[in-house]
Symmetry: C3
């Protein structure tokens, strides 16, 4: 499993979330509000600007699809469009059923 | 070391935190407010609902105890009870003392 | 690449961020507000206190410099100075350009 952590423009976040929600895999998504800066553009000191953070844990075979959906709906072509980080997830648990591993990030069996 | 990242119902969060705090290992805990959705239940589009995020980094031998405590106090048996993710932590630092590694997530030596 | 996740005193956060921003590598930084407790000091039950969370993803060769900068500017010598966790990042994407891997956390080529 992988965690996909994306920092996107607040204005683009709903587009990204809708795209993820309506995708065939429709992974779970967690959203939170953050602020940050990327690489300064040589101008004055970088100021912290508002960003929306998305955390999406998926089985390995869904990573590239989720990355493409995020990039397609988050990109405007200007500086500050955002960053995505991918990292390994060793285990997962669905609290209601106790399901462990990748089953916990796929459709629940008896849904 | 492992990071345990749990998304639970806000109403259950205090129960979970109290249980962790009073457990023998009593790991450090970080709490924040997020919103999200899990796997849609076939009804209309999933709406983002409020969740409490817990981040708990522990030595490997405490992982299962912490998972059990979270599940026991977060579960209501209904859809949306929550998700837990476990991932590897390569290093840790206690800023006050400079302690590195698992020492930084155990009781400080000279506490 | 590594993710450096630091929980510091809100009063110290600006010092840490300024130091990171003006450092030669000047990595990207994401900031958010959390609450938490570390290891209880034997007194009453630990109360959740406000902390500032910093997430900083850098190429491996910048990790120790970033850790030093955080410790130097976050430390006051008292209990509660904070904790830092280091974990592996498998991939990164700069959304504007589609750059992948460590290039996405270095200065953009055509900045
Ligand atoms: N290395 C990083 N570590 C942590 N967060 C980052 C990092 N880089 C970017 N971010 C987060 O992503 C947001 C957007 O960054 P941004 O898109 O400006 O990256 P950039 O590398 O400067 O790319 P661009 O050249 O397209 O602006 C930042 O506000 C910050 O929240
Ligand atoms: N794959 C995921 N990636 C990131 N966050 C997730 C994921 N799955 C769930 N979450 C987070 O956990 C919260 C609760 O999810 P939920 O308990 O509904 O999961 P579920 O898989 O639908 O299980 P259930 O069938 O018990 O409802 C969501 O609101 C979201 O914040
Ligand atoms: N093991 C942990 N897992 C997750 N978050 C933690 C952990 N330990 C500390 N934190 C976060 O770091 C913040 C500061 O912790 P703190 O500095 O009190 O750690 P400590 O181990 O008690 O060190 P000290 O002895 O210097 O107080 C906490 O409020 C919490 O947000
Ligand atoms: Mg930028
Ligand atoms: Mg659900
Ligand atoms: Mg403490």
């Amino acid at each position: 499993m992988k965690e996909i952590k994306a920092f996107v423009r607040p204005h683009q976040a709903d587009h990204v979330i809708d795209a993820l929600e309506s995708s065939p895999d429709s992974p779970g998504v967690t959203v939170s509000d953050v602020r940050g800066f990327g690489h300064p553009k040589g101008g004055g000191p970088a100021r912290l600007t508002e960003r929306t953070k998305l955390e999406i844990v998926v089985p390995d075979d869904q990573v590239e699809d989720v990355l493409s959906a995020i990039i397609e709906h988050a990109r405007t072509g200007r500086f500050g469009d955002g960053k995505i980080f991918v990292s390994d997830v060793a285990d997962a648990v669905r609290i209601r059923t106790g399901e462990r591993g990748a089953a916990a990030v796929r459709f629940p069996e008896e849904a």
